[in-house]
Symmetry: C2
Subunit: 284 residues, 2 copies
């Protein structure tokens, strides 16, 4: 029944985590979901699962060992606790110095550090592309029409901007219109950034006639593509339409797209193009 | 009565424009204010002044010629119209090709282009540092206490981040806490960016115990320092306090500080440090 070794998914929030689990199953993998308390959806309980808190490393590795699972994917958004609130179990205690250091680094460093600790525990970290490639954005047209010249110039400009931001563990998203940077995404997340552009336009503080600009999204350069990739979905498209953008451009191979059929229909309905661009450099 | 040639100030919005005019007068300059309709404060009418709309170049240069004014400063925030809404007078018509091009560039390019056109009309562009140096941030402590080690590291990180953003005509401000980039400023402006950080903290989406992070502000690298410099004032400090930051760091020589006495008192009251850092590179 299984076309590969059993797979554990360490689940943060978001529907994509569940979709990846379903897709992995459809691709013949046996899946075991580990929900992070406070982040993962209760829907993980439809699968073989346990719940863990951050710091419960022995509980996590023990459950995997019991099931003979050696491959782990990490997916979904995690609400980052303060280090002082973490209660390490005996499995985590031996890594506590490193965990404390990780808590002082960016999200990227934190994820990489967790992956390193899991690998030291004998686990293999895999990415969505490895077990559910259907969810990863390809190069070229993904949904809607083709970008016009202005939009293509904005995509190139925005992709370069995100590249420049990469070393600072920030900048998975930006909105560019006619080579003006309208917004850069940091801790607020994509939806809040797009809502901000929508407000600036509605209040006429940003004045463009009709549709203008592109939302550009990429993984950070040098990011470990097995780890949590940026994702877009129908909500992203709705937010982009409210911001009166022409379309969305995502880094191919580095962006996850949830629920592709509904996504394509929503792009069409919203009059948005969605394209995948080839990231100019890959230093992974 | 005058300690220098008469000076025209092309006025956008903001109290600093008026303070610069008062300071120039106190420094012995005769001043003539040119208010941009829709942007400048009615308070400019306390000075010798006229009002102009964007595109009324002949009206502007004519009024200066009449008064024998050859030096112009450009100050304050301007609401950027759509090019199609600009009504060029006969003075602007001969530059219309360039003006159209400028409207497709970033704010920086637009300002530089306007300066270039005014210079071609025989005017000399000057900066605030030239006629009111009291308003420009110095290196070192400006108000409040001294930054701690964490804050100093965040200042260095944030200054480097803003440097990387410079080529994209964006990024005069960012909030960094323990080397995490919490927010990057683009079209929304400083106040909205700081309000966003305050909301993220209040909603516990960003969890730090107590004061954390620094607001870092700089001019864009390569920016013409005679043109509109970033400015901070009491409102900035109030916003930084609501965001529970430790302090504010501004690029020395590149940032204007309105109303210094009230500013220092407000920093003290809010428990915020304010320091000027020496920009690492100057390619001006």
């Amino acid at each position: 029944m299984s076309a590969g070794p059993a797979l554990a998914i360490l689940c943060g929030g978001g529907a994509l985590t569940l979709e990846a689990a379903r897709q992995a199953k459809a691709n013949g993998r046996e899946v075991f979901l580990v929900g992070l308390v406070g982040s993962a959806s209760p829907e993980i309980e439809a699968f073989d699962h346990i719940w863990v808190k951050i710091g419960e490393l022995a509980r996590f590795t023990g459950a995997l060992r019991q099931r003979g699972v050696e491959e782990v994917a990490m997916l979904g958004a995690v609400t980052r606790p303060e280090f002082a609130d973490v209660r390490p179990d005996w499995g985590a205690v031996k890594h506590i110095g490193e965990i404390a250091r990780l808590f002082r680094s960016g999200d990227d460093g934190l994820l990489r550090g967790v992956a390193r600790i899991l690998e030291r525990e004998g686990l293999r970290i895999v990415g969505v592309g490895d077990f559910a490639p259907q969810l990863v954005a390809p190069v070229g047209r993904i949904a809607g029409g083709a970008p016009d010249d202005d939009a293509r110039a904005d995509i190139a400009f925005g992709a370069a901007l995100l590249g420049a931001l990469s070393p600072y563990d920030v900048g998975q998203g930006a909105v560019v219109a006619r080579k003006r940077v309208l917004a850069v995404e940091a801790a607020e997340g994509t939806d809040a950034m797009l809502a901000r552009v929508a407000e600036l336009r509605a209040s006429r503080r940003l004045r463009f006639k009709g549709r203008a600009g592109v939302f550009i999204k990429a993984a950070k350069r040098g990011q470990d593509l097995r780890l949590d990739l940026p994702a877009i979905g129908v909500a992203t498209l709705e937010a982009a339409a409210r911001a009166e953008l022409k379309g969305v451009a995502v880094a191919a191979g580095q962006t996850l797209i949830a629920n592709r059929a509904a996504f394509a229909a929503a792009a069409q309905a919203a009059g948005l193009f969605v394209v995948g661009f080839a990231p100019s450099t890959s230093e992974t």
